[in-house]
């Protein structure tokens, strides 16, 4: 069964690209969110297998959204997506329980491998 993914990024262009490469690989993007609040709502609603969460988003950032999602579902598989120079935020995310992270700009393989590893656990 195809892995169901929720994409959260404030840039629609980024979501478009990610959706494209994920679908080519056979994953199903079951939802998209453009900020943290929406991401939490969509998670509760759709219960995806994996959430790919951008760390910098308006209204509620990825870190906060991640904490909220983990409250809803402690087993949630979350992959944080960040830009270079955000190591401090990533460390905070790890402390808060994120399963993996990827750093932009990334090659598609990075994303696949992160999702596969997350699915194993």
């Amino acid at each position: 069964m195809a892995v169901k993914i929720l994409l959260a990024d404030d840039l629609s262009f980024m979501r478009m690209i990610q959706k494209e490469i994920l679908s080519q690989r056979g994953y199903t993007v079951i939802g998209e969110a453009s900020d943290g609040i929406e991401a939490v709502q969509k998670y509760a609603e759709l219960r995806p297998d994996v959430v790919v969460l951008d760390i910098t988003m308006p209204n509620m950032n990825g870190l906060e959204a991640m904490k909220k999602i983990l409250k809803i579902d402690p087993e949630a598989r979350i992959i944080i997506c960040s830009a270079l120079g955000q190591q401090k935020l990533i460390v905070e995310a790890i402390q808060a329980g994120v399963k993996d992270f990827i750093v932009k700009p990334f090659k598609p393989e990075r994303m696949f491998s992160a999702i596969e590893k997350a699915m194993k656990n």
Binding site: L84, G85, K88, V91, I94, Q95, V103
Partner: protein, 674 residues
């Protein structure tokens, strides 16, 4: 005895600094040797470097590196004695081995122990070259195992009391003890975060005792951990450990089971040492806010200040002319006060930069307790080390060059000086020998003494060996003169090779370093059966010199003030003429007269009035006759080219405020020529 803490990191840093310095010289020497394979001086020099490297690394516990350096030393010993000649194939092997030395030091610099570099093959080839038999590969393998154990033991230095306690508890709970090593993909953009993710995952499934590097502080944006070592205990499934490391961009994972005994037993001893060292170190700890600056940068600043000082005096001289001619008009007063403040500022800068170059000699002394402890245990001797004056400040550039001779002298004192307990009892001495190391400042000099209450030098034996080696003739010479041969290259009264002090390359290395590189002096005082005292005298700084400027034959020369007793006006009739030499009565003693212009190969001084500078160095003294005394001032020493310095009577040159060049006299050479 006041000793600051034994800090393995400090030790490691100091070792690396020294090793890198040794290697820098080594590389250029090797390249030269390839072109001149017969050059005995070069072979000697490389032999010494290997010898130093071997001893240094043995002391710090990098045994693999020490072994390799030892084998290379053996090769150069054979080259030096002429037992072996140097063909290209051998050169290739040597260069390969030296590359391995580089790699090991680089790995040590990164926190390793040098054993990470496999040198079995190189060692075997070097052994074959020296005509030794080579152990089979299988035996080397088991050797490798014991080495691994050593790594573990050495790592204990990095375990805190708390961590050792945790280990003990885990052992009592019957948990297994592992070391996990993970390598992060070198391409990974956030290596710290990757390593941190592994660490976090592990913490959920096992008991993490310690990680290297640690995660106990706030992360910085540019933190980057290429490799993570985790010491952990667990009663769970090993597969959980591997699963925790299944993180993206983690490439290599190695899990090794460790024995508690290695850590806890060794830990007791090390803990004891650390505790006593910490106790002693605590009251002395002064927290200063500081930043690290490359020495190179400070040296450059220092050089620029030297130029500034020269330039400033040039301006001063110029303005004096302008002012005395009334050319400045009413601006004169302003110019004068501006120059005044320029003078103060440049002096302030000079002082401030000089201070940045000064460090307490404790940086060298701190290594000594460990050295003495390790060596005395190895030798089965009982030795107490007494250190004083560790707050004495010395120029940083001296520190690096000074550390080696001091360690060498201590090693000598322990190895050859202090007797074995039974021997000491038989001689009615206290069982525990004493080595005293002290430092203090006296005028522009730093005085260092290393004293032991051991058996002293056997002067009769020295005389025999020196005569046999043709270093002295049949004639009677004073004990002082005799003791100087100890500092000659190739002199040794000990025939056998010992691991500690080696085969008599010691004292000449020491003397060479102190005299040539540090512009100092070394003296030996020994009483048979009672002990030995070695006194090292060093200039406070190597680049600025307080000097008496004199004129001779229309040129200017500088004499270091610290080598000057007095300056006197001399009427020719005051001199005492004898058949071969001229003497001058100085404070009731007839001392030799040196005509400086004669020394330079010019006409003999015949003028009616002359000036004399009484110079002294060690126990030699003489009256140096010059035409005129100019002034006393601080000058900046610059190196002198050998072409201008055939007799080696100069130690450098300097430029005065008016642009005049002065030659700085090397008083020790001049006194020896008299």
């Amino acid at each position: 005895m006041a000793v600051s803490g034994i800090d393995s990191n400090k030790l490691r840093r100091a070792f690396i600094e020294e090793a890198e310095e040794l290697l820098e010289k080594l590389d250029s020497d090797l390249l030269e040797l390839e072109n001149n394979p017969e050059d005995k001086d070069l072979i000697n020099e490389i032999f010494r470097v290997m010898h130093s490297l071997k001893s240094e690394s043995a002391v710090v516990g990098f045994s693999s590196l020490s072994n390799l350096a030892h084998k290379l030393e053996d090769v150069f010993e054979k080259l030096r004695s002429g037992e072996m000649s140097l063909e290209q194939s051998k050169m290739d092997l040597i260069l390969g081995a030296v590359d391995a030395v580089h790699e090991m030091i680089a790995s040590i610099a990164k926190g390793g122990h040098g054993e990470e570099i496999d040198i079995t093959e190189i060692l075997d080839e070097l052994k074959l070259l020296c005509g030794e038999t080579v152990t089979s590969r299988l035996e080397s393998k088991t050797l490798g195992e014991t080495k691994k154990k050593q790594i573990a033991i050495e790592k204990i230095w990095e375990f805190s009391e708390f961590e050792l306690n945790q280990l003990k508890e885990a052992m009592e709970r019957n948990e297994r003890f592992y070391r996990l090593t993970c390598t992060v993909d070198p391409e990974s953009p956030m290596k710290y975060a990757r390593a941190f993710l592994v660490f976090t995952n592990l913490e959920q499934v096992v008991n993490v005792i310690k990680t290297i590097p640690p995660f106990d502080r706030e992360v910085e944006e540019d933190d980057s951990y290429g490799e993570l070592v985790v010491y952990l205990t667990t009663s769970g499934d090993d597969r959980d450990i591997y699963r925790a490391t299944e993180v993206d961009e983690i490439q290599k994972v190695e899990l090794i089971k460790l024995s508690y005994d290695d850590f806890l037993k060794g830990g007791d001893v090390k803990r004891e040492i650390r505790e006593t060292a910490e106790k002693k170190a605590k009251p002395r700890r002064i927290e200063k806010s500081s930043i690290r600056i490359e020495t190179r940068k400070i040296d450059e600043l220092w050089r620029l200040v030297g130029e500034l000082v020269i330039n400033k005096s040039q301006i001063e001289k110029l303005m004096k002319n302008v002012l005395s001619n009334g050319m400045a008009g009413e601006l004169g007063e302003y110019i004068e006060s501006a120059i005044d403040s320029l003078d103060k500022i440049s002096e302030g800068i000079q002082q401030a930069i000089m201070e940045t170059r000064m460090v307490p000699i404790a940086v060298i002394f701190n290594k000594l307790p460990r050295l003495v402890r390790d060596l005395s245990r190895k030798l089965g001797k009982q030795v107490k080390l007494e250190v004083s004056g560790e707050e004495t400040e010395i120029d940083r550039s001296i520190v690096e060059a000074l550390s080696e001779p001091i360690t060498h002298l201590i090693r000598n004192a322990l190895d050859h000086g202090i007797e074995y307990p039974e021997e000491r009892i038989a001689r009615g001495k206290a069982v525990e020998g004493i080595i005293k190391v002290s430092a203090y400042q006296e005028g522009g000099n730093i005085i260092l003494q290393i004293e032991d209450d051991g058996k002293g030098f056997d002067t009769e034996r020295i005389r025999e060996v020196a005569m046999a080696k043709g270093m002295i003739g049949e004639e009677e010479i004073s004990e002082n003169e005799l003791l100087k041969v100890v500092f000659n290259p190739g002199f040794s009264t000990k025939e056998e090779i010992t691991e500690l002090s080696g085969r008599g390359v010691g004292m000449d290395v020491v003397a060479n370093k102190i005299k040539e590189q540090l512009k100092g002096d070394v003296n030996l005082h020994t009483v048979k059966g009672r002990g030995t005292r070695i006194t090292i005298m060093l200039p406070l700084t190597l680049t600025i010199l307080q000097a008496v400027i004199v004129e001779s034959g229309g040129k200017y020369y500088a004499i270091p003030v610290r080598r000057t007793e007095e300056t006197v006006e001399i009427v020719n009739t005051e001199l005492i003429y004898e058949a071969e030499k001229t003497l001058y009565n100085y404070r009731g003693k007839n001392i030799p007269v040196i005509y400086f212009d004669k020394l330079l190969g010019k006409r003999a001084g015949k003028s009616e009035d002359n000036y004399g500078v009484i110079i002294s160095h060690g126990n030699r003294i003489a009256c140096l006759i010059v035409d005129r005394l100019i002034e006393e001032q601080d000058i900046v020493i610059k190196p002198i080219d050998d072409i201008l310095n055939e007799n080696h009577i100069f130690s450098g040159v300097s430029i005065l405020g008016d642009g005049k060049i002065v030659y700085i006299l090397d008083t020790s050479t001049i006194l020896e020529l008299s």
